[in-house]
Symmetry: C2
Subunit: 277 residues, 2 copies
């Protein structure tokens, strides 16, 4: 049997009870998509991870990243289509919230089965749920993919399988993201996407869309958006590592038009997945 | 050797990589003080835990609580002075943020050495640090002792051992709590303590002080407090399970008077520890 998990380079399916990831959510994660044994958009995932490590003041150096890359490569071997989940925690121990100075971060890698995304979602667009759960405001941690994800768990608990995703607003009624994806609105020739300076996760596919749009001379505006903006858009799509670019045709029972620009965004992503290392 | 950890009733020092406590901080914790093999203020800890389980929609029943009590009792045996840390997670697995319907919560119990609190802290009062880290606003999760504790980790990382505790404000400049304790100000014959409806943890010793004050006809006002309120107080103390009631004689280089009412609060706690089950 192929080994599907690595903890600090060793096959293991367990971690110490004293790991700070468990105690405090003191760490970060990434979910990578693997195609033909290759992790897609790896450099972007590494970049976001490093931004998170810096934000959380988890010490690391180039060797740490090199070892991580080698472990990712090792675990991807022979995987045709899969997800790789990567968790970095600050390490095990310390006295209460205070971490010891010499903690070694723990590296946890897990392979998961690729998810199935129905073709009709892409062809006809999908209907989204509108979550009642509101995101809190936390400028300190906004944007990074840390392990403190209770809000997402509660938002995702509001519906079953009838919707592929739900949209969440913050406590000041700004539309922020999906529970596990980012949101783009099309207005004329512009792309609008929520500013993530108070809450939200700045996704890797989101960064691909923003960079590609700029290369294709499509203006992207990051600003506060409302539910009204959503229903006034000429088109809407959501993005994440798993489903890529997903067209939205409705939310909360209201219809949203489909726009040809969604197809362009899909192609930008396909190109980045093919060409970026 | 005495066994110091239990996972679902079995001696173990590890947990599955797929536990949602690690993945998302999807759970709760309690830290109990043990004296002469007895967990102090146990019912209050259980009550707060249950409030948290309800808030996070983690299903439980009376049998779950009974089993937990039995495990706590088992682990306390022979412990003269110690801490018992209890973690409840939603369980292992699910698909992303979505938990399976039939998940079984995991019960993790760990004994830790009792901490040493210098007598001079109690006799002379202690000097507190004022944290630069600000707490975000999250009404949904305010008050409960969940596992999403990155803010506390970052706040606690600001100083070393020169202060026993640091005070934290929220992003709107309200004074909320210590990184691991609650805050009380004395003003005349009143006690003031921050309202914890936007952020903060409602501590067990905090609840003892509030209940005891009412029994002793001392008015307790829960409201928004500022740094100015701190320095205008006639006395200040902080509370937690470990150090109990700790007098404060200064913060951020400024002096705070010591008040005889602090001694009264200490006695209320001693009485509750002695008399409550």
């Amino acid at each position: 049997m192929m080994n599907n998990t690595l903890v600090n380079g060793q096959p293991s399916a367990h971690i110490s009870l004293f790991d700070r990831g468990l105690s405090y959510g003191d760490g970060l994660f990434e979910t990578l998509r693997i195609e033909a044994a290759k992790p897609l958009l790896l450099q972007r995932h590494i970049d976001r991870l490093c931004a998170g490590l810096i934000c959380l003041k988890i010490p690391f150096n180039q060797m740490f990243i090199d070892v991580l890359r080698a472990e990712i490569e090792q675990l991807c071997k022979g995987q045709k289509q899969a997800f790789l989940k990567l968790i970095i925690t600050r390490g095990a121990g310390g006295r209460g919230y205070r971490a010891a100075e010499d903690l070694e971060p723990n590296r946890i890698l897990m392979i998961a089965a690729a998810a199935d995304y129905p073709q009709r979602w892409y062809q006809q667009g999908c209907e989204l749920y509108l979550c009642r759960t509101r995101l809190g405001l936390n400028p300190l941690l906004a944007g990074i993919k840390h392990l403190n994800r209770l809000e997402q768990v509660l938002a995702r608990s509001e519906w079953q399988d009838q919707y592929p995703e739900g949209l969440v607003c913050d406590i000041e009624d700004r539309l922020i993201e999906g529970t596990m994806s980012n949101l783009f609105l099309i207005r004329g020739q512009q792309l609008l996407t929520p500013l993530l300076n108070q809450c939200g996760v700045a996704g890797v596919v989101r960064s691909v869309i923003i960079d590609s749009a700029q290369r294709h001379a499509v203006e992207v505006v990051q600003r506060a958006l409302s539910i009204e903006d959503l229903f006034q858009a000429d088109g809407v799509f959501i993005t994440n590592t798993g489903f890529g670019v997903l067209p939205v045709r409705g939310c909360d029972g209201r219809t949203i038009p489909l726009s040809p620009m969604i197809q362009a965004a899909s192609q930008w992503l396909a190109e980045a997945r093919r060409c970026e290392s």
